[in-house]
Symmetry: D2
Subunit: 391 residues, 4 copies
């Protein structure tokens, strides 16, 4: 249906369409982690993913388990992730939305059992740990050739980004050459993100990782990073400096083959969530959300014409998360190709970590043509130790 | 959650939120009619309305029943509406999306059984027949005080229109005085809508009925029409004249109390579905979709900057239909107030029919302060006979 | 230069370009009336119209003449229009921006002397008086075949309207069928426009006359009006009723040949001047200013994203007035065709007056295929008596 | 008049308003250089700057002098700049729009004679030569305390940038922290800009110098650069490499005090001139032209909704150039403060040159807290030798 290709919901629709074809069996899913985003994943899979059946959830937080007991009728709850894996013999897939620090560990355990995995981003704040998840999958898939493991880069499932991607693929912009992308959060005066910065891996790993993933998507997953450089400031939250973080930062990623990505990440937006991307090629440009809007309403007042915009990433990307749930489910059930490869998730963490390092050291970081870093990294104060040290 | 109030999906979200509170029992629903919109309703209730359970569907079309058998696992199918009503003893609610000509008849039968009813618009192309549905409900509700009957004016469930309504209610525009509203379809060169015009009640009843309903919503359901006048042309489909219809028409509705509504309906848009509304009050204005967009993508090309828009009403209002399904379900289960009253659906048909008459006769039609028509209507060639003649 | 064809200033540029070709002689111009708009015309011709030389101005207001003495160095000032015409033997052109009530009289006197005339709109609030100006010109041009007389419909000189017109002419929209056009002023709480309503001819003659002129331009100057109807309210200024006027009105003009124009005029806008137009044809649509903006600035604030818009017609159309001055001058000097015909100015007053009558009487007014009114007009309380009674 | 403050032409208007006050004497101006932009300056001063009188022009090109003889009636023409300075005893001001290579030399000669100077940007492609112009002025002004010398950064005179500046100054965005600014030209397939690259100083000096000037304006003229880094590519014109230039480049300027500027310059835009700027502060953001538009027209077609944008910098900034002419004239005549200081023009060349060097070497360049470069510059193959070597 031509029309739906242009509608914001088209891709969600299309996942339902496939539901038409094979209504049969439902994918048995567990959710690990029921925090803010975990609870949303749980509801999406429980209520809005017709081909999935949530059979279990796990969280170390009693309050979250109580919420699940109240809300997710018929779903078994576990305080211990490992116990859940042991007990739920019929389990087919795990959605990991626990604290970032345990993403990799939980993912690897599920992978090793042959389960499908949808892991929230980032796999880890450490490139090495991220790599260990990929390695586990590369081993596991030999035994479980239909196993699907993806990292939840939600923008890949957003109707606007997909529309842009189709247009770029169809040649509308010629050869993509310069990408500008920003992930800018509304100012949260509660200071939540200051404490969060201890574990987030820094603003480039937490926010810009989406933009880095987009660069890899639009430039091609095989793009090889040549250099990164970044600078940043603490305009509103000087306390961030104690965690080696900043509240505003800009960066440049240079790829081999004449491709550049320009980044901006911020915690300081006034109007709301301002995530946008422009892909400029030799023949044209495609932009996503450079003129942000929430609903289709404009308000005409003595002070001018005003529109309101989404206040956070979930307000902007809710539909994408639902599409993600439906498509991941369909890929597992139908054994079809997943829309994004796990290698990219590792590459994104590597680039994000390098940008964060450049942000702190002020040094440009260079890579050879195979993507291998030239020169030694700065010793890292924060971040996540290699998983081997913890498993 | 403040943010979600501004997101396009907020109201859908809120219906899910209520799902959090009372997961328990599901509403047993049947769908009558599985044509284009009927099949969509069936899928919405089946897949995307967690608190509803579709137990039966009916359609006179064998092909549609076959589709249901393939797609809606576990749902019983009936070729005969009456048989379905007889057999399905547990049925609680019926969604009527059959041909307009049988809307009223099917609705009244379900109403008389005490079932909840969501009937597609219009109740009928005849004001008298529409009134008979309302009368049936008014009688029935004495016996079934919790019974809910609504007419599916989808825009009432659209996040943008609701956002606009909240703003108007909160006083942003002062007292609403002038509404401009248009329902303009993309040109369909297949000529589908020419044949459709035989039964549609005409462009004002088929298209502008939404705008009329919006006028009643924003001005107040108790607004009394004072006069209507309309003119129209056949710019692309002169064949429409044989069914007393036009492909472009403009109209004016005057309400008592200093309120005016300006209408435009068309079958001739080039770019897509162009439905928009402006509510101008004594202190400001709120507009909905006056700068249409589909996704958040812009394309920069040698010919300029371009954006694509939804191609049809479903591309524009899909989310609203899903919200409608969820909210109707919640109102039935929780015995809460429905968001729109059936009286309005009758009033809208009356005004739409008068506009259509004015379009054909070229005469202004006036009403007294109780909304009673002054002067005799023109004899109608087409349209729908009073239901009494057919039941 | 292709680029300038797309710039907002292109047509002004082109008038300067012609200045390149024939720098020589300057047109000797007088300005009649130095009120708000008259003073602006005087400055435009004096400072920003290189091929014109303002040699004289006239005004009955001493204060205005003093302003001219201070500001327009070397320009002679007259308290009496007739005296100016007598004394200024070298005068070639008169710009009439005096009170509407004397437009026609002053124009006819200048016409009879063979002078070029640019007369502010409307020629008169009376169709008969307007016609007398046209008749004078039709007689005069036999003696002065190069004489130019135009009525200052500023939108004809606006870069955006001209851009739209070129696109319509080039076939982008197919055959124009439906025009929606509005002239809506910012609310002026001073009540200025209430007193002004005594002489303005009413809101349709004062405001919508621009939209009517646009309809004639885009549909073709030879379009014949078939009917008009209008309704209006006094939402903010009930005092207007004593002058038979309204502060918000909508109207429909039907033309023979399947062409419709939908109008809205208002004195109640919150954000600023909201003049916009849409020309819908069989193949597409061109819109002008449906998303109003002032500068290219957007302000991102906690309340959303805001832009400011022009506050009055001069803020919106200043460049158009300057272009008008330059092009009128060039047409006079180079004896080239004027961009709009005086017949249209008479037609616009006729239609505007009929709309105003319909607004007050509530009756639809019809015209035969030669544009002759069917049925007698309502007796008019206000308005302007035929000129013959006053000359 | 409140309204004009919001109109795009407000600042031009205000310069005319001052014309009201002191119509008297006209500034005697010469134009040096009559190439593309020189001819435009000549026409702006000749036709559209009421308080200026162009008395002489000079150009080494015969064809250009012929054009002046035809077009600028009464203006004396010179093939030799020095001769013009000698002969024109009444000259008060010189507008320098000759080839960049002679900007500085011509400016210094005029400065030394006590003439007012408006010099096109850049003063020179060499920071040292630029500094020599400033030094000349600093000496000269001791003798000619009313002398005005400015560099023509046209965006400082653009209504939208001024609107943005007023808003930032009024505190709307809090403390400015991050500026993103881009100067991106439409792709010119003629390859003109390849040859031009020999003399332009490179894309950062030619294009981004405007953005650098904006950064200094919005962050404060006293902002001290801390570091610059840049990368670039040749996506469409590999020939540029022979002149050490690129067709797309991104850069970062870090200023002391927590201020960052992110740049993009390109020769590859499809739709037209895409210059935009965002100023993000601790409390909000102001954007200029992030949603580019030419006229107020939108075209609705089967492919979507389209708008056209200015095709080159003159299409975008024509009004700003005219304002510049009028304001420069007024400052000279009235001895009022100029709106931008010459120091900024030197600082901009220094930063632009460093970015260009970083673009070529791939090295980050750092400066100490007094703005002095840390480490030696790379030896420059191209660029302009110090003026001392040529005078």
């Amino acid at each position: 249906m031509a029309s739906s290709l242009r509608s914001p919901s088209s891709l969600f629709s299309s996942s339902l369409q496939s539901a038409d074809e094979m209504p049969g069996r439902k994918l048995k899913v567990a959710i690990a982690g029921l925090g803010r985003m975990g609870a949303r994943h749980a509801l999406h899979f429980y209520n809005l993913t017709p081909r999935a059946e949530v059979i279990a959830v796990t969280s170390p937080e009693l309050k979250e388990l109580e919420w699940a007991n109240r809300t997710l009728e018929g779903v078994r709850t576990y305080a211990d992730y490992d116990e859940m894996l042991r007990e739920e013999k019929d389990l087919e897939a795990v959605v990991i939305s626990s604290a970032t620090i345990v993403h990799a560990e939980q993912a690897i355990k599920a992978i090793n059992l042959g389960l499908h995995v949808l892991c929230e981003k980032p796999l880890s704040t450490s490139p090495e740990v991220s790599q260990s998840v990929l390695s586990a999958y590369q081993n596991s898939i030999k035994r479980f050739p239909n196993q699907k493991v993806i990292c939840g880069f939600s923008r890949r499932f957003d109707a606007s980004y997909r529309d842009a991607y189709q247009k770029v693929r169809s040649g509308v912009v010629g050869k993509p050459a310069v990408i500008r992308s920003q992930t800018c959060d509304k100012l949260d005066p509660s200071g939540f993100f200051v404490e969060y910065a201890q574990f987030s891996g820094g603003i480039f790993v937490d926010c810009s990782i989406h933009d880095i993933d987009l660069a890899l998507w639009f430039f091609g997953e095989d793009s090889v990073v040549k250099s990164v450089s970044a600078v940043g400031i603490t305009a509103v939250s000087p306390e961030l400096r104690k965690y080696n973080d900043r509240d505003n930062a800009v960066g440049i990623i240079e790829f081999y083959g004449g491709k550049i990505c320009q980044l901006y990440c911020s915690r300081m937006m006034a109007a709301g969530q301002e995530d946008c991307t422009e892909i400029t090629g030799t023949k044209g440009k495609v932009s996503v959300n450079t003129q942000p809007t929430g609903t289709l309403v404009n308000i005409y007042e003595p002070s001018g014409i005003r529109r309101e915009i989404p206040q956070d990433y979930y307000g902007r990307f809710r539909e994408a998360f639902i599409t993600e749930a439906n498509e991941f489910t369909a890929c597992c059930l139908d054994n079809t190709e997943v829309p994004l490869r796990l290698e990219g998730a590792v590459a994104a963490v590597k680039i994000g970590g390098a940008l964060q390092e450049s942000l702190i050291t002020g040094k440009k970081i260079e890579f050879d043509e195979r993507g291998k870093r030239i020169g030694a990294p700065a010793p890292r104060g924060g971040g996540q130790a290699p998983l081997s040290a913890r498993l």
